[in-house]
Symmetry: D2
Subunit: 340 residues, 4 copies
């Protein structure tokens, strides 16, 4: 393979730039040419494609966001969109693609490979909810941002003896909530993967203040419910503390990537190039047990594939990701709590 | 004066601990004893008062929040509350008080002084909206937190070509919005002190994207309206960009104070002690033209007093604070904008 | 076991406080009492021991350093010292000990266990050079501090087209240098585990500037040689660029622990308590493949033990730690370099 | 004036990019064209000059260093160098220049103005040692970096009961040391502007530990002597504590500028353009009493000029800058110290 391309797709995540840089530099060191595709699959179809040299990724390893821009482009789920994209790839002489993003991005990579254009997926999403990897690019940074914010909230919360509900990101996965909660010493953590009772939380709050605590912080993943709704239900369940809500929101997506995100993004980017160099596509790179691994994007659940075929030929998403049971129990032990 | 006390009152602000530390250390170096009053005026009335030695404020200069806790206590506006507080001061042999907080805190300090207990006010509030000082303790930190957040939002905003409305604190004063907007290179800044037209903002957004900008950030002080309401009105005025809202909220109150807040808090704390040492109360310490200054809490507007007497003997609040005209115009020039 | 103690020993590392907090809270949730021993083994022998309740570790999860203080105390390698310590443990009714530190700390834990006082070791050191764990407590924070510093150095280095040698910690292990170098996009990384030639580095520098680079950054682990010596040898080997040296030094030991260090410290602390609860001592807790693991402190190299017995009954230190070959090669590929 | 240029010269300082951005954007809003000159006066003479549009300074307000690069170029002190530079300015049709830097930069600006090319100076240096302004661009950031480092050093220092000498930048001016010392709660601060006795410091250290302090931190400006030399003299004067030295070095020059540096740089940059627009050169912009001010570069000391003519026609540098007496006394009071 002489010429490859790289794109970012879906929600942006800190570390995407570090991954792009590694793809570019590694490819050049392997004697390949690299093109950047702006705006994900939308840009592929539109032909928004330009050559990247080594200098183009200088000073990018620590920048937040993605300098190739990202976009959601559902049209690429359809054959027509895919063929339009491939036409552009041919025009530029591109033989393989590295795709950095989440589920939808992987789907596109699978289709490109099926059409004869090997594509490799890298897990770029803050939610840590992609199968086939212990960590996604951006997760460590998002948790770090959340913990910085909760550390600040704790200051004001302690000064006023307040209870705070902090809503963090995570639609399906409680990982951000769980890690941020443990790391900031939050009193309760509520995640989509775990049932809990509001009465128990009300009780935890009461006991805490009785024991002399000067604040109570509850981290709630957005997948559970919104912070405002959570507050309402907590009041209905009998909470009578001075209660506030803080929604961290989009700041969790931005910022300079942490060391860990920079390092795993660099490692994954380089591996993706090695795979394409060897003519391998249709796989996703992950990190498992601190080692780089690959899994097929389409395959069986046992193989660690993200997608499987249904009996009717439709596509089924495998995402057996579960926020760590160990961490959940750990937090209860550290705070002497009873949530469910 | 042999024995003084210190309290924090109203909303907490980063740097309050640095001010308390300076009061304690400076007083000890002047041969005085210092007592800390927990929970502001509420704690004064309840007698929640304890001695502070030099070690009690070790490692506090850089901590957020206030380790003396704060509380709002409207009862102290009434004579009954004040007398109950004074009774406690007498019990502990306290002869003067340093009060760190905002308007309400200053009011209490004025009353204590009138009752024969000299009290000095220090401006502890993130909003920068106290008369008699160019900067309040906590303002620089709050702006820094806001800029950190906007820097992150800009990353994700640029990656997706999005327009963001960032709601920052500031009920009456646009200072946080103005400084944070200039420092983060925000495209528009909307503050309570200035009229603006939504159509002009819609126009700015359009022109920006036409010129090839990849994001548009609007900083809105909460005193203008909520971020959600602002978004609604912007849409009604014709905006068709990909619009998001981020409410920074309580994180702006917490966190380790910046260098500047630590330094001005230390300077002000020491000055307050010098005033009490010299038997002076009923004044507020401020920083004006980088020099420490005092102004009477009750007096004429010309004297820089926070409160004046009405003809009917009632109290009038002087707060002629105006966010800098120069900064407002500067931002328009830097972004080539037309807001009003 | 009804009563356990915890101490920190050797060089301090960020995250030690998070580990202590987890030990205390977890033990209390298991119905045990916990005592803190100040100044490591020195304090044990001196009887500087005090009870820790849940509140004593409030607001500690994010603090740098160790609030139990640390000290080196070679006397504890001798039987006499150990017996003096045990006498104190008996006096306080302490039945088991959690020891947080490095090699020397583990040695003490092994001896205590042999004398009938089960002790568990946790790897608390920034160098990441303890056998039996993929990561030590403090490593992620130290690397993060180094990267923050190198990011700043890069700014000034680029402004002036300068070459910088940045000396980071790591006497035997190149992990800090390697991770910091990859994450900051350093041009060369020199570690004790790898040979290199100065002529090749001189050549890399020249080629970089010829290709239009505006700076060149070399990260050197202190175990290779000092930054000053490195600069001297580089000049001798023919470098003619504008060369500066920066020694990061002790800042790498301090600071608020990162999310990751807080989380692994919390997990390890809780596990140590579970082991003592079950009467198990003489083992070290580690993290391997993202799972908590234990290994004997004294045993065979195959068991992952830190210490083995020599044929003559002496003790041999197993520390087969090797900075990742993959990371080393990765950096060469990303920078197109030839070091050896 | 239709076309102006901007350059950075001398040591780089955080906030230079914010100043350049303001010059460019403000000039465009005034209908002027702007050119950037790379590498300061060296680039002027070499004709390394290129047009800057609004987009060229997008996303630059928060970046450290200077994207126009900087260089020292003593040749510009000579007439020959100046004429060579002017030839280039003519070639590009440039009628006025904004110069961001220190003493040497101002000298060049003065000469350009004398030759008929109005030039305005902005104080860009971390040392805060330029006459005619209360604060220089970069000072607040440098102090913030120093305080971050000292906060970390304090962690490890407290854990081990150590004495630390922290050497900060400042050849002639003690401002960085003074502000950083106050803000970090350092025990002693030694600056070039003040005499001190080593015996008194030894005494302070002893008294501190006797009173139960767990660390002692001494901030020393490099203009006093090196950290290593300071340590040697302290030992000679009788110190017997566990003493370490940390040299902060070049990290103080880099990093993202603080809010304050971004804001004052933006204000000054815009003002420089207004001056050139009005045909005014040979002056330096400063901030005094929080207001923008101008002073002649060449003039009398009373006018606040940096340079005055000697009787023999030679140039005399006026730099009556004195680190704040108030701050120095404040620190002594807060730490109960006796330095001189």
């Amino acid at each position: 393979m002489k010429r490859i391309a790289v794109l970012t797709s879906g929600g942006d995540a800190p570390g995407m730039n570090a991954a792009i840089r590694a793809v570019v530099r590694k490819a050049i060191s392997e004697g390949m040419e690299v093109y950047g595709i702006n705006y994900g699959y939308a840009g592929m179809v539109a032909g928004d494609i330009h050559k990247l040299d080594s200098a183009a990724v200088g000073d990018k390893v620590g920048r937040g966001g993605t300098f190739l821009y990202s976009a959601r482009y559902p049209e690429f789920a359809q054959l027509e969109g895919q063929l339009a994209g491939i036409e552009q790839l041919k025009k530029f002489g591109i033989e393989g693609v590295v795709v950095i993003g989440g589920d939808g991005s992987y789907h596109g990579a699978m289709r490109l490979t099926e059409h004869g254009f090997p594509a490799v997926g890298l897990p770029g999403t803050i939610d840590n909810d992609i199968v086939g990897t212990d960590y996604t690019i951006g997760f460590d940074t998002a948790v770090t941002t959340a913990v910085d914010a909760i550390d600040k909230i704790r200051d004001t919360s302690s000064s006023h003896h307040r209870t705070f509900i902090v809503e963090v990101m995570g639609r399906n996965a409680g990982d951000i909530a769980l890690w941020a909660g443990i790391a900031s010493g939050a009193d309760d953590i509520c995640i989509p993967e775990k049932e809990f009772k509001f009465e128990n939380i009300v009780n935890n709050i009461k006991k805490g203040y009785e024991k002399g605590k000067n604040h109570h912080i509850i981290v709630v993943a957005e997948g559970v419910m919104s912070g405002a709704e959570f507050a309402k239900k907590l009041k209905e369940a009998g909470d009578d503390s001075d209660l506030r809500v803080s929604v961290l929101g989009h700041i969790q997506r931005g910022g300079q990537p942490t060391v860990r995100d920079r390092v795993i993004a660099s490692r994954m980017g380089a591996r993706a190039v090695e795979l394409l160099r060897d003519g391998i596509g249709g796989v996703a790179v992950g990190i498992h047990n601190e080692e780089l691994v690959e899994s097929p994007i389409l395959g069986t659940e046992e193989e660690g594939a993200l997608f499987s075929l249904n009996e009717d030929g439709g596509i089924k998403v495998n995402n057996p990701h579960k926020a760590g049971e160990e961490l959940y129990k750990l937090n209860s032990a550290l705070n002497n709590l009873n949530l469910n």
